[in-house]
């Protein structure tokens, strides 16, 4: 479903990725963990075409992204990136709901404007998604009237309304308090259970342990270890993984 091969990316002279490769199968739930700045968010943004890269290739559902002219992508490249984005749903740490639209408008905007769906159909579907996340009653509210957890759940509904083949979560709970994080994580957990292909960059180790099919550990732009959560969390092979886990889980 998603393949990354030989990816190189640098910020100015500071290299981040130097030949990164991995693969995500359809229906798989992959959790990316690692210290801040290790590249787990950046790789999600590269896959979605929000960041450019220098060398290597990324394939999403058969569409290939390659390194492009960063400043001014050609029309062809821009269209290719857009096609990839149509296959993927993206959820951001800061929610990024459209503040000038109601919850319902946030969810129906792209289906209507991008997919050309009829407004009534789109609204009926949107209400279905809102029901799933228990926010049907907030359809006519504006984002600023919602709590952070509610906003993030709407952001998930907004992404799902585009019927993506995979969902990318970029630290979806990092700006939420634990209670609200719980609401959001349970929505993601349900998606995973339904078989949605997901990639989640997160610091929620508990969630990673129970919901992930596979855990990828990032450090300084490289994958240092990958495996099922049972193995990563109980008997990590790489010392740096152990150090990282000890640090975030507070055990010694």
């Amino acid at each position: 479903m998603i393949t990354v091969r030989g990816l190189h990316k640098s910020y100015g002279v500071a290299p981040l990725f130097e030949g990164l490769s991995f693969q995500v199968e359809r229906g798989e739930a992959v959790v990316l963990i690692g210290p801040s700045g290790s590249g787990k968010s950046t790789i999600l943004r590269c896959i979605n075409g929000l960041e450019t890269f220098d060398r290597g290739e990324i394939t999403v559902a058969g569409i290939e992204l390659h390194s492009i002219n960063t400043k001014r992508p050609s029309r062809e490249d821009a269209e290719r990136i857009r096609k990839v984005r149509l296959k993927l749903g993206m959820v951001f740490q800061q929610f990024n709901l459209f503040p000038h639209m109601t919850v319902l408008q946030n969810v129906t905007e792209a289906p209507v404007r991008v997919l050309g769906m009829g407004r009534t159909d789109a609204e009926a579907e949107a209400r279905g998604f809102l029901r799933q996340i228990n926010l049907e009653g907030k359809a006519d509210s504006y984002p600023a009237q919602l709590s952070g957890g509610e906003q993030q759940r709407v952001a998930i509904a907004r992404a799902l309304a585009m019927r993506p083949e995979a969902m990318l979560f970029d630290e979806p709970t990092s700006s939420l308090d634990p209670e609200m994080a719980g609401e959001v994580l349970s929505v993601i957990r349900r998606l995973v259970a339904e078989g949605m292909t997901t990639m989640i960059a997160t610091h929620e180790m508990g969630f990673a342990r129970e919901a992930a099919g596979r855990v990828i550990v990032f450090d300084k732009g490289a994958i240092i270890e990958t495996g099922p959560p049972s193995q990563i969390f109980t008997s990590p092979k790489v010392p740096r993984t152990r150090e990282f886990l000890n640090r975030v889980l507070g055990r010694f």
């Binding site: 979605n48 075409g49 929000l50 001014r72 821009a78 857009r82 984005r85 149509l86 993927l88 749903g89 993206m90 951001f92 800061q94 990024n96 709901l97 459209f98 503040p99 000038h100 639209m101 905007e109 792209a110 404007r113 991008v114 997919l115 504006y142 984002p143 600023a144 009237q145 952001a155 907004r158 992404a159 585009m162």
Partner: protein
């Protein structure tokens, strides 16, 4: 005081702004009462003590009266300069000119800015109510000028239905307006009417003979039509209570006439003619000037003009704001999203239009473009001038608004599969406009008032109407307050509207 009628009337239309109005009127009354009531005795004494005579005149485009010497622009020349020097010589002092716009020479005189005003000021009944006139020093006539190839207009009588230009606040203006059926266009400079005549924007120009003699006669494209009309008198304007100074000036003028000095000056400037023989009578019996005063239109005829002027102001402001908004948006889009070379073209446009005075832009549009064969009518020039200038400011406001929208908004829109264009239109712009709205309102109100600048291109809008009416009725204060109120009545609802709009757009921030 008559303006109360106007105030009461305005109060009733603007019931809810009553407080503002009474405040404004209060301030006005205080200014009026507190205005110094000009000088005591001894203007002559003051001049002697000071060592020089200060006389008011407008040297801007003032040939052949008072104007900068083309060969040495720091020096003023003209027949009135010669006359002032002669008068000062008789008083035993030197003459120094004090620069003042012609339209407001009399208010400036009353304010005490100079000892007297001498600048082709015609003796009229209305002016006599305000100032003291010396004996006349020149008998002027009005000369009609047409294009050389024009055979249809032979005299003033042929002007019905034609476009005729003249100078604001002059007797020629009264003559033209009093005739009825003439499309009168009012200018504040003396060069522009002849230019517009030459390129066909006007059919004829009626102005004082000295002006025609200097500007129109040498121009191969123009010719005199018919004999001079509307004989009148130029005299020196003094403050009402400077009778002593008037007496002295009358003596001096009589002496200059007697000795032939006056004739020598006028001959030097090609202004001497047999009409000047009439001056002798005035010098013999000072104070008996029988005025050949031109028919003057009564003030109530002018009153609807203020409202018409306000209408023109609204029309110009609204249409050029529409242009500014549209063009500004295009510039922003080019600058932010189009890439080279469009982005730097847009940036260049903005910098040039922001970095040069609107007045210069208007001059170039209206008076400059005909030099390269493009002749815009005043409405078009005003619309384009204001609109294109304000587009630069609008564009910067939009850009600031767009930059204030968090980048995450664009990323979220893109990640939903929107194209950049759609994202800008549906997600970025609506938020940016909300941020920019207070600035846009501000700009609109500023444009609204800047629209008074288009009077330089012969557009008669509210300010121009005011200065015209004030110059011919000399009621600068009353008409000024009424005009200011008219502007306020138009711009205040605009702020209210903007405030309501802002509130509505803020509904998502409850």
């Amino acid at each position: 005081m008559t303006p109360c009628g106007g105030f009461v009337y305005l109060k009733t239309i603007m019931g809810r702004f009553l407080k503002f109005l009474s405040l404004l009127i209060g301030i006005g009354v205080i200014i009026y009462v507190a205005a110094p009531h000009k000088p005591k005795e001894g203007a002559l004494e003051k001049i002697r003590k000071r060592g020089y005579l200060l006389w008011g005149a407008d040297a801007e485009g003032g040939a052949p009266y008072v104007f900068p010497d083309p060969e040495n622009p720091s020096k003023l020349i003209g027949f009135e300069v010669d006359l002032a020097n002669a008068i000062a010589g008789e008083l035993g002092v030197k003459a120094v000119q004090s620069q003042n716009a012609w339209d407001s020479l009399i208010p400036a005189l009353e304010r005490g800015d100079f000892d007297f005003a001498m600048n082709g000021i015609e003796i009229t009944r209305k002016r006599k109510e305000r100032v003291l006139f010396s004996a006349p020093y020149y008998v002027y006539t009005e000369q009609l000028v047409v294009r050389r190839d024009d055979a249809a207009i032979k005299s003033v009588a042929d002007l019905k239905g034609k476009k005729a230009g003249t100078l604001s606040g002059t007797v020629a203006q009264d003559i033209l307006m009093g005739m009825g059926g003439v499309k009168v266009k009012i200018y504040s400079g003396q060069v522009e009417p002849y230019q517009d005549l030459a390129i066909g924007r006007l059919d004829a120009v009626l102005m004082d003979l000295p002006i025609a003699a200097y500007y129109a006669k040498p121009d191969p494209r123009l010719k005199y039509a018919g004999p001079p009309v509307g004989e009148g008198l130029y005299a020196i304007a003094l403050r009402k209570n400077d009778t002593q100074l008037k007496k002295r000036l009358d003596e001096i003028l009589a002496k200059l006439y007697r000795t032939g000095e006056l004739q020598r000056i006028y001959e030097k400037w090609g202004l001497w003619n047999s009409k000047q023989d009439k001056l002798a009578a005035f010098f013999k019996n000072p104070g008996t000037e029988t005025l050949d005063e031109s028919r003057s239109a009564p003030i109530k005829n002018f009153f609807p003009m203020l409202l018409k002027g306000a209408g023109v102001t609204v029309l110009i402001s609204v249409s050029s704001m529409a242009l500014a908004i549209t063009l500004g948006l295009m510039l922003t889009m080019l600058r932010l999203y189009a890439g080279p070379p469009f982005d730097w073209l847009a940036t260049g446009y903005i910098e040039v239009y922001r970095g040069t005075p609107l007045l210069i832009q208007l001059y170039i549009l209206y008076y400059g473009l005909p030099n390269i064969g493009i002749s815009l009518n005043p409405v078009m020039a005003a619309f384009l001038g204001l609109g294109m200038n304000y587009a630069a400011y609008e564009s910067e406001l939009y850009r600031a608004g767009i930059n204030a929208v968090p980048y995450g908004q664009m990323e979220a829109a893109l990640s939903l599969g929107m194209t950049r264009g759609l994202a800008v239109k549906r997600v970025i712009l609506p938020q940016a406009v909300k941020i920019a709205l207070p600035g846009i309102t501000n700009d609109f109100i500023a444009l609204f008032k800047d629209s008074s600048l288009v009077s330089v291109i012969a557009m008669v809008e509210l300010t121009k109407t005011y200065s015209m009416l004030a110059a011919s009725t000399l009621r600068f204060f009353q008409l000024g307050i009424i005009t200011a109120l008219l502007y306020f009545c138009m711009s205040y609802p605009l702020s209210l509207l903007a405030r309501r709009l802002e509130k509505r757009l803020k509904k998502d921030r409850r």
